[in-house]
């Protein structure tokens, strides 16, 4: 009986969905499970920005936004269930915040003609829009991150890394393995020695890896971690007295959650980023006024201004801008997922546009095209100040090694294309 009622409710929802004329944004969040500490602030930021647009502007182009939240717990099976249950409601764009779920959704969204935005995660070669028609990973991807980290180190070492030892400590999953190939190429190019140390899910057990780091004494340690793995790694690094300023995490290893538990010892830890940190932007005044003070904040409302909150907010900003673009291109206010895809492909973020949105210098400038779904790949570096408990941007958004990455992307996307019999579509 329960099941029958559930079906009835579901079909009613599906039937009622399109008639209401709203922009449906599914939010595949994870507020539970081992990765919840990262999932909650991202989802809060994502939700809050749309709430603010609804409250302040009455939606986008006069059409209100409806965010449908679905809990995945970072689990691929639940991710599939969430995708299937929300896609019927006219979902405009998916943001699963999980590389595993992304891999599952790439073929599905292409078949269903719904765009997928994997901001700074997912399949890196999806940057090649010629092959991956419905997947977008602007403004930066993992290989940009890897190259950004190496570029930063080059800068610190006066342009020469030869003979240096760099260790990569990574989450032993699709996500963590992504940068290895790029780093291998870069190590050939710049002559540094690379050691890759896998850490198994969920990442609480890292003693042996750090013992190895202590023995091998690498000059720098890079980290591709997520969830509890980050905190443990920072703590372990502190335990072996590894100099924190030589320890650089990817953007998913650079939030408050990761460094606060280690206290003072985490001071100086660095992380890559593709957006700015802190609340020193005009848009946060609006957020405070329309969302937080109005009691409409998502979750507990205590995440405003954290790194991952800002990332969720940035994801929402980019989605909203793509919606505006799609409305402009199609002439409809109530756009379809296919029009949304076209909007995302024509998206251009300029400094003036960001300033207009109340986010001056919040993210890099970039533009998307049919062949380039990954933006201009500008990566910055942030550093943690344990005394003030703040992250600050220490290196502005700078270009990455497009030559090395471009070749790898072509190779990987060509493999995908031949596996799936895809033809280039951008000629």
């Amino acid at each position: 009986m329960k099941l029958k009622l559930a079906t009835a409710a579901l079909s009613a929802l599906m039937a009622a969905g399109p008639a209401l004329a709203d922009l449906v944004i599914p939010d595949l969040s994870y507020r539970t499970g081992p990765y919840a500490a990262g999932g909650i602030p991202f989802s809060d930021g994502y939700n809050d920005y749309f709430t603010m647009l609804n409250e302040r502007d009455g939606g986008i182009g006069g059409v209100p936004i409806r965010v449908v939240e679905c809990e995945t717990g970072y689990n691929t099976e639940k991710g599939v269930e969430c995708y299937e249950s929300t896609k019927g409601e006219g979902a405009l764009v998916y943001q699963p915040l999980s590389t595993g779920i992304t891999y599952q959704l790439i073929p599905k969204v292409t078949a269903d003609n719904i765009p997928l935005h994997t901001m700074g995660y997912g399949r890196t070669s999806a940057k090649n829009g010629d092959v991956f028609s419905h997947t977008f990973n602007y403004p930066a991807n993992y290989w940009d991150g890897a190259s950004g980290a190496i570029n930063y180190l080059l800068e610190e070492n006066g342009g020469d890394l030869s003979g240096k030892k760099i260790a990569l400590i990574y989450h032993n999953s699709a996500y963590g393995k992504e940068p290895i190939r790029t780093l291998e190429e870069l190590s050939k190019k710049h002559g540094f020695e690379l050691a890759a140390l896998p850490v198994d899910h969920p990442g609480q057990e890292q003693k042996s890896q750090w013992l190895q780091i202590r023995r091998d004494r690498p000059d720098y340690v890079l980290m591709w971690g997520w969830g509890v793995m980050n905190q443990v790694a920072v703590q372990e690094a502190a335990n072996i007295r590894f100099p924190m300023e030589n320890f650089i995490g990817i953007w998913w290893s650079g939030s408050e959650n990761d460094v606060v538990p280690a206290g003072e010892a985490a001071n100086g830890y660095k992380a890559l980023t593709f957006h700015n940190v802190g609340t020193d932007f005009p848009v946060f005044d609006d957020l405070q006024q329309y969302v937080v003070d109005a009691g409409k904040a998502a979750g507990a409302g205590d995440q405003v201004g954290t790194v991952l909150y800002n990332r969720g907010l940035y994801a929402a900003v980019l989605a909203a801008e793509a919606i505006k673009k799609a409305q402009e291109l199609s002439g409809n206010a109530d756009i379809t997922p296919a029009e949304m895809r076209d909007g995302m492909e024509a998206l251009e973020m300029t400094e003036a546009k960001m300033a207009d949105l109340g986010l001056p210098n919040f993210g890099p400038t970039f533009s998307v095209s049919c062949t380039n779904h990954g933006g201009d790949a500008l990566v910055g570096v942030t550093q943690w100040d344990a005394a003030n408990k703040t992250w600050s941007l220490i290196s502005d958004f700078k270009p990455t090694d497009g030559e090395v990455i471009g070749a790898l992307i072509d190779e990987d996307s060509a493999a995908y294309a031949s596996e799936n019999n895809l033809e280039g579509r951008c000629n």
Partner: protein, 358 residues
């Protein structure tokens, strides 16, 4: 009243030994099969297929497999996730190596490969039993997952270590990949489940099944009356792994489409399938179905009720789900340790006498 054997005369041994000896029960079974094969494929949509029916069908195959080993042969196994991974990776390698071969053959071969691996890991069962065997199979679980993560040959050297199911068909109908129609994937899994259940049912009531059960009930006594423990235990491991491998292959190729071994086939999966057969009922084919249905449907129903109807925050619903499923498992184990299958048996006994119980 309607559920009784009165008037249902059996005139041959075959009739007497059939799976559903009561006429009403038999017709009910035919109706279920007819609905599953003849009606649902016409009504099914993507949501029903991917969120409910496919996981149910596939977990039911895995549960049947594990039930043969644990429920019928009494060999505790915590390696189900690992064996499912063997099925999935075998299927992947076969799919990519022989693109023109029918998916039916790939899935069956994947089951066969898993059976061989299962027999290998079943060898310790000849020496050890009980908890110690559980630990040995646990080693299989971790070793297999590690192997598929470590050796790039298994994932065709892809950058991320993920395996992705390419588009493959059966008689021209696409079964895997995103363009596969819901009814086709559903029917494909349903055929495997129906055949698996039939084979399992007939294995368990024949000589093989009896020798398994003899080993389960008391291995020394079984050996004395002439049951060969080597043969019984290894056939149980082989049959069990065969079904588990098929489930793993379907899970990867038809249901998920992309798999990361540590996340999908981790120890969690072994426990989940074990819970299914414990809740459903050890040593019962129906129990495997019931357990799979219970653990697949309940979270989805709770989610639909909590998040979609009542509009509760998704995290609270997710936490409540854990609490409710956990509480129900504990309740079942206290109130009915033999699982849902026993409840069903008791219900049938009561029905037989109803409405005149004395």
């Amino acid at each position: 009243m309607f559920y009784r054997e009165a008037g249902d005369f059996k005139t041959s041994y075959v009739d007497d030994n059939q799976t559903f000896p009561i006429k009403f029960d038999r017709y009910r079974y035919y109706v279920v099969v007819a609905v599953a094969f003849g009606i649902i494929p016409f009504l099914i949509n993507d949501y029903w297929a991917n969120a409910l029916l496919l996981p149910f069908l596939i977990y039911a195959i895995a549960a049947i497999g594990l039930n043969i080993l644990v429920g019928y042969c009494g060999q505790v196994s915590l390696g189900t996730g690992g064996f499912m991974a063997v099925g999935a990776y075998a299927c992947y390698k076969l799919m990519t190596a022989f693109p023109d071969v029918s998916m039916f053959i790939h899935v069956i071969l994947a089951g066969g490969i898993t059976a061989i691996v299962g027999v290998l890991f079943g060898l310790p069962s000849l020496r050890i039993k009980g908890f110690y065997l559980a630990v040995a199979t646990l080693a299989a679980q971790f070793f297999l997952v590690w192997l598929f993560n470590r050796v790039p040959w298994f994932y065709n050297y892809s950058a991320s270590g993920q395996i992705n199911a390419p588009e493959r068909d059966v008689f021209g109908i696409i079964i895997t990949g995103p363009n596969a129609p819901a009814w086709a994937t559903y029917l494909f899994c349903l055929i495997f489940l129906a055949v698996s259940a039939l084979i399992a049912r007939n294995l368990t009531r024949g000589t093989t099944g009896r020798s398994w059960m003899a080993i389960r009930d008391m291995d020394i006594a079984a050996e004395i009356i002439g049951v060969n423990p080597l043969k019984a235990k290894l056939t149980a491991f082989a049959a069990s792994s065969f079904f588990v491998g098929i489930a793993g292959a379907l899970f990867f190729a038809v249901y998920l489409g992309a798999v990361e071994v540590g996340e999908v086939f981790g120890i969690q999966k072994s426990f989940l399938v074990l819970f299914m057969i414990i809740i459903g009922g050890l040593g019962s084919i129906f129990g495997s179905f019931a357990g799979a249905a219970f653990l697949v449907l309940l979270p989805v129903v709770l989610k639909v009720v909590g998040a979609d109807w009542l509009g509760w925050p998704t995290d609270i619903v997710a936490h409540l789900q854990l609490v409710i499923v956990g509480a129900l498992i504990v309740m079942f184990l206290i109130l009915e340790p033999h699982g849902l299958a026993q409840l069903w048996r008791v219900a049938k006994e009561k029905l037989r006498l109803w409405p005149f119980p004395h």
